[in-house]
């Protein structure tokens, strides 16, 4: 009897854990927003100049779509994404796709969400059976997609990848829309160089070591510091995307009495933790103040800090991929091919002295 009861409870526990596993993707995602898109390290030369700035285009095309549906016939798309609860980045990404692929814009979209590869593959097979025209895919895992994508190709379905790349032959998909983390870092470092400080004494707060976002964003800074004598790293520490750890690391530097004038945090959370430590020690920060604060991901609250001139810079990690996908679909519909296949998205860096409320509203995630 007792054993049975225990077994029952264990079952409940396991189920609970499973449920948690599904729901708590947010807890495994080390940070909302950051590090999400797998870096397209083999990124092709930026074709992004050709692509118009994402959101403006989005707004524009929405309007045009309302007046004149593309070709009178709706395009059927099946969209397979990760769970929108996974992170703030993913939520914004999903919202963007949902608001773009609508009947008004000439699309009939079905969505499937999962953080598990096998479930995503099942969803893909279902979409193929349903006879969609396009399969849009943000794969949970890079491997295992060959067969199902071959099936899609045989059925004459076009495959577009967004946000994450996969380990499959390039011929199996038509285009891939990704972020370039290294470029994000370069943009940020270029901005910092433009500040023309006499000396750069930098506290570098890194993300979880080895993640694509960390590698991309660290790389640019490391290179710069290596090249210039007046760029110094006061400390370079991983705070694992964690605000609390960032706060303690910065606190430790403050306690040591070492001088610093830049905080380069690889995501907004860590920047916030750093700022909390600065506030406590009465060290001024922001535009025209003692310490320059830099973050990434463009969380809405972070951009508001920029607007209030408390922070100086925030680098974007673009979740607004719908217009890029639309562009590619249009090209294919017109009988063309997407070339090069890898589309690197335009990603902005915001400067506190230039940011507007409009930017906050349209880019904040």
């Amino acid at each position: 009897m007792k054993r049975k009861l225990l077994a029952m409870i264990m079952t409940v526990t396991m189920t609970g854990a499973l449920l948690a596993g599904c729901g708590s993707s947010s807890s495994t995602a080390e940070t909302p927003a950051a590090s999400e898109p797998a870096a397209a390290s083999e990124a092709a030369p930026a074709s992004s100049e050709a692509a118009p700035a994402a959101s403006e285009e989005a707004a524009a095309s929405t309007e045009t779509a309302e007046t004149a549906p593309a070709s009178g016939e709706t395009i059927k798309v099946g969209i397979i994404n990760n769970d929108p609860n996974e992170s703030g980045y993913r939520t914004a990404n999903d919202k963007d796709l949902k608001s773009f692929f609508t009947a008004e814009n000439g699309y009939e979209a079905s969505f499937a969400y999962s953080l598990k590869n096998d479930e995503q593959i099942t969803a893909a097979q279902k979409f193929i059976q349903d006879g969609v025209d396009y399969l849009l895919l943000s794969a949970a895992d890079t491997a295992g997609w060959d067969t199902v994508l071959q099936d899609a190709q045989d059925a004459g379905i076009h495959v577009l990848l967004f946000d994450r790349t996969i380990d499959a032959d390039e011929s199996l998909y038509d285009a891939s829309v990704v972020s370039d983390m290294a470029k994000e870092g370069e943009t940020a470092v270029a901005w910092l160089e433009n500040q023309k400080l006499d000396e750069y004494n930098i506290i570098h707060l890194q993300g979880v070591m080895g993640s694509a976002a960390q590698q991309g964003r660290t790389g640019a800074l490391d290179t710069k510091v290596g090249e210039n004598d007046n760029w110094k790293l006061v400390t370079q520490q991983t705070a694992e995307w964690n605000a609390e750890k960032a706060q303690q690391i910065v606190q430790s530097v403050i306690d040591s009495g070492e001088k610093f004038n830049v905080i380069y945090a690889e995501n907004d959370d860590m920047a916030k933790g750093a700022v909390a430590a600065l506030d406590k020690a009465n060290i001024s920060h922001g535009v025209g103040k003692d310490v320059i604060v830099m973050g990434f991901d463009c969380n809405k609250w972070a951009l508001e800090e920029l607007l209030a001139q408390n922070w100086n810079y925030d680098g974007q990690c673009n979740p607004f991929q719908a217009t890029y996908l639309d562009e590619a679909i249009k090209t294919i519909e017109a009988g063309g091919t997407v070339d090069p296949k890898v589309i690197i998205m335009e990603e902005k860096g915001f400067d506190a002295s230039e940011i507007t409320q409009e930017d906050v509203d349209s880019y904040g995630i």
């Binding site: 526990t13 609970g16 708590s24 947010s26 807890s27 605000a243 430790s252 933790g273 506030d279």
Partner: protein
């Protein structure tokens, strides 16, 4: 000699010895570690700063959690590993109240005390859930609390619809920062209040005696009219209260919450604090004050490591060394050897003394 032995035999000697080792190490490596400066903050109020102040500051949440964890350990003979997740739940509930349900607020929408109460209720419910599983369903504490350990952070996210609420009211930063005019960090005062409350609890109720009785011999306790299930249950609920208070400090520090990383792995530090306090992790006799001191010693270690620029993802490795040292020194075989050694030594000292005489 006997005096020394008496001191060494006392439980609180363990955290004190660890503290002394750390102090000595820092003295040798860099005495500036102990420098404390009085400055002023942006509001023009005096504040103290320095590594020691940081230790008092950041060690406080851990000290508060150590109180609850000590009771849970003593009563149930096991540990609660869901502390971090429960803290996320309590913090999430507090922020929901403080922001009035919105995602951000520039002014607190409810008094802090109301938020604290709501957080307490949330954390106590979580504690009650754990406690019921442990006490009434007789599931091992580690296994029982594994449920919330895995699910808790999702629940925390669900409370705020997966939004990350932010409160930018400077009045709220007081709990994780400084009270205007007082140069010592507030968390230290909150911890002191909690310690006082714990002292009162031990002084004005019989919980200390009951908890130890249950932890040492449940059968005897039951035959003396104590309800062991209830005592275990109670210890988890008390831990819930501690978690809620710690959550207030944590969310006040950053004025926001990140469900996936807030108080990450803090349960391990809390358990380590209990162990470092010389308490048996198998339950029974406990010394609350030693656990609290243990918590500050752990923060001392953390701060020291940060000072020497040890990579923060390597910190657990150093803590592991502490755990190994503790386990080795508390092992019966090692203890027996040590007593033998000290006996020999005292004998030889006596002999030497005689010869000298």
């Amino acid at each position: 000699m006997t005096n020394l032995k008496k001191i060494v035999g006392k439980q609180i000697f363990i955290p004190i010895a660890a503290l002394l080792i750390l102090i000595l190490f820092n003295l040798c490596a860099d005495p500036s570690f102990f420098k404390i400066t009085l400055g002023t903050n942006s509001a023009g109020n005096p504040v103290l700063s320095g590594y020691l102040v940081t230790i008092l500051d950041y060690g406080s949440e851990l000290a508060i959690l150590a109180i609850g964890m000590t009771l849970v350990t003593a009563a149930s003979g096991g540990q609660d590993i869901s502390v971090g997740a429960t803290l996320a739940i309590a913090g999430s509930a507090m922020l929901k109240v403080l922001c009035g349900g919105a995602t951000s607020a520039s002014v607190m929408q409810a008094p802090v005390i109301v938020a604290l109460l709501v957080g307490c209720i949330a954390a106590m419910l979580a504690g009650a859930f754990n406690g019921a599983l442990v006490a009434y369903f007789r599931i091992q504490p580690m296994v029982a609390t594994l449920i919330l350990y895995t699910a808790g952070r999702s629940i925390a996210a669900w409370i705020n619809n997966n939004e990350l609420p932010i409160i930018s009211d400077s009045a709220f930063t007081v709990y994780g920062g400084f009270i205007p005019g007082i140069p010592i960090p507030t968390p230290f005062f909150i911890a002191a209040l909690c310690v006082l409350a714990a002292w009162c609890l031990l002084k004005f109720t019989t919980i200390g005696l009951y908890t130890q009785a249950v932890g040492i011999n449940e059968n005897s306790a039951r035959l003396n009219g104590i309800n062991p299930e209830f005592i275990k249950f109670l210890s988890f609920v008390i831990l819930g209260v501690c978690v809620a208070v710690a959550a207030l400090i944590k969310i006040s520090r950053l004025s926001t919450i990140n469900y996936s990383v807030i108080a990450k792995d803090i349960e391990m530090d809390a358990i380590l604090a209990v162990a470092l306090g010389g308490n048996a992790l198998g339950g029974g006799k406990f010394n609350l004050w030693a656990s609290i001191l243990g918590a500050y010693v752990i923060q001392f270690l953390t701060t020291t490591l940060y000072k020497f620029n040890v990579q923060s993802d390597a910190l657990p490795a150093y803590k592991a060394v502490v755990v190994i040292a503790l386990v080795v020194f508390s092992a019966p075989t090692v203890r027996a050897k040590l007593t033998e050694l000290s006996k020999k030594k005292s004998r030889s000292v006596q002999l030497a003394g005689k010869e000298a005489a």
